[in-house]
Structure formats: C-alpha cells, structure tokens
C-alpha cells in the first residue's frame, strides 16, 4: 500500500540470518520475504551494531542517568570511543 497507493519508496533493513542447508550441510543466508517487493533490502552486519553503542551511562533530560544493565555489558560499552 505504501508503495503502490502512496507512491513512496520502501526499504527493508534486516538482520542477516543463516540456516543450515540439510542437503549440502552448508550455512546459507535466509532469503527475505520482501525480495522483489520493495525498493531495497539492506542487511545489517556486526560493524553496524558495534559502531552504534550507547555510552555505558546515559544522561537523561531530567538530569538523572541510566546505566547499561550489568547483564548487557560487554567490553565494547567500556571502550573510550563509545
């Protein structure tokens, strides 16, 4: 509807997932349900996640702060560039 009725471009961003092909035993990229139906499909990869991490402590508008939950902490959150 967005494409055909409103005439807008539509893109899909999806996380690449791999499935094991039972015939070949190889890991193969799963196809998108939107293939050939949208204007573009972009796969996100590790560096997209790694380059877009919040600071381990985020300042809120009310002056308080919120910290990354301990269970979610990874070395990258403590990296000085984040």
């Amino acid at each position: 509807m967005v494409r055909d009725e409103l005439g807008r471009r539509v893109g899909i961003v999806r996380v690449v997932r791999y499935l094991k092909n039972p015939r070949t035993g190889r890991r193969e990229q799963r196809g998108s349900v939107f293939r050939d139906k949208v204007d573009f499909i972009k796969d996100v990869r590790r560096h997209h996640f790694a380059n877009a991490q919040l600071r381990s402590e985020v300042q809120l508008k009310n002056g308080k702060s919120v910290a990354c939950p301990e269970a979610w902490r990874s070395p990258i959150n403590d990296h000085p560039s984040v």
């Binding site: 409103l6 807008r8 139906k37």
Partner: protein
C-alpha cells in the same frame, strides 16, 4: 525508520549473533545504515515485557533501555501489549512417559499490536507526506500487505490496477 522491536530483538540478539550489542543507540544505528538517508524520525514499536520466573529482571533492563534510547529527540517509542498465558499443545515427539499425541499445557508469551501499529503509523505518516522513503527494520511477513499492496500477492500478480471506491 520504523523498527519492529521484537522482530529485531529476536533476530539480532536472542537468536542472532549480536547479543553483545544490546545497548544499541537506535538513532545512530539508523543514521549509519546504507543507503545514507536523512533520517527525520525513528519509530520504535515494542511492548513492556513482564518478569519471568527464570528472568525476574528482564523488565528492569528493558525499562533502562527505553529510557536511554528516548534521549534521542527523533525517536518515539510506541508500546503495544505483552501477554502471557498457558495454552494446551500437543507434543511434537515423545517425551518421558508421554507419547507424541499427549497434550500438555505450555507457557505462551505474545506481543500484541506492534505490527498493526507499525503499519498504521507508516500509512498515516505517508498520507501526511512526512517522508519520501519509509525504511522498515523487520523481516516479518505480516508487514507484507501494508508495504507492498494487496495485489502484490494476488493471483493476478504484478502491479495491476488499484481499487477505486464509489463515493
């Protein structure tokens, strides 16, 4: 940008390989995605989770995350409903003393409304001429119709004529 929160979470973090990157800055993530577009708004569709016996702190982590990502002025959080109930289901294979035809009660968690909300906002924003390009972060086939049009999957196929309504 329209982010189907649960679809994204499961694909990337729960079942995917990016579990180390849950503390994700959604605005920055969207800005950096190809093709480089001028991202005017990010709509994030999710639902408040409920504590699990096996994970009583899950809602605290989610609450912290929602507060953190909401610091981005371009991002709005749209909350659907998260339900949990038990429902009967047949075993797919024998287990213990139970045959494969045995019925057991299973915990089922469901997130309601996010896909409908996402599709509704995408259409509404389009009608209001708020974007040139809609980018959806999801690979959920439930969104096929609102994105691609009903006749994209009809037996006629292709981009046939649209329906006109008598007024």
């Amino acid at each position: 940008m329209y982010i189907d929160g649960f679809n994204f979470y499961y694909a990337a973090f729960a079942e995917g390989e990016f579990g180390d990157f849950k503390w994700l800055d959604l605005c920055r993530f969207c800005d950096d995605l190809p093709p480089r577009l001028d991202i005017v708004a990010v709509r994030y569709f999710t639902a408040r989770v409920k504590p699990l016996p096996s994970d009583p702190d899950n809602y605290r982590r989610q609450d912290a995350y929602l507060r953190a990502v909401s610091t981005c002025a371009r991002l709005s959080v749209h909350l659907g409903q998260f339900t949990r109930h038990t429902a009967p289901a047949r075993l797919s294979e024998p287990a213990g003393n139970l045959s494969s035809l045995a019925k057991v009660r299973m915990h089922r968690t469901e997130e309601k409304g996010s896909d409908v909300d996402l599709a509704s906002f995408m259409l509404l924003d389009g009608f209001k001429d708020l974007y040139d390009v809609a980018v959806v972060v999801s690979d959920d086939s439930d969104l096929h119709e609102p994105l691609c049009g009903w006749y994209a999957t009809s037996s006629a196929g292709g981009s046939g004529s649209s329906v006109s309504f008598a007024t």
